[in-house]
Symmetry: C2
Subunit: 104 residues, 2 copies
């Protein structure tokens, strides 16, 4: 998975655990793709300050996933549900549904 | 959902975000069903101390769910996958698979 995609997925899952200020800065960086300099200017802090916040947010979000593995679980289930969508063989569909239930 | 079930589900999802000490106390209360007095004795703290820790853990776990809603999402997906397991009509199965993907 590329890093920006991973970061925005992690943010989708655990972003609500960041503070309002962290979210504001991190969203501009990850979702709006602004540069550190641009974010620094709007937020009225230094470029280095923005850099530190982004780094801290990234580390926190990764930390949540390392502890909870919920994103990993969701993605595994999602790929199995996509398989169900493609299949026509009802026995194979039931087998996959069973696997999902065991994972949940 | 009854309260003990809800608490142990929440613990399953977010328990890893508690400290080691909190986990130890909370597990004895929720999973091993020990009384506050029993836990207090083993841990060498007061009954009131155990009560406070349990209350704080419960509040923290609920707080995570209120922010992230991941347990709610998982349970909704699980009930849909159970439906897939029961159905024989492939068109209805695909419709439900689609709904799951939209929720994920």
């Amino acid at each position: 998975m590329n890093e920006i995609l991973e970061q925005s997925l992690l943010y989708d899952f655990y972003g609500e655990l960041l503070t309002a200020h962290q979210k504001q800065i991190y969203e501009q960086f990850i979702l709006e793709d602004l540069s550190l300099a641009e974010i620094a200017q709007t937020a009225g802090i230094s470029r280095q300050g923005v850099h530190d916040i982004v780094k801290r947010c990234h580390k926190a979000l990764r930390g949540y996933e390392e502890k909870l593995h919920l994103m990993e679980k969701f993605l595994a289930i999602k790929s199995k549900v996509y398989k169900i969508e493609e299949l026509e063989d009802i026995q194979r569909i039931k087998k996959i549904a069973n696997e999902i239930i065991e994972e949940l």
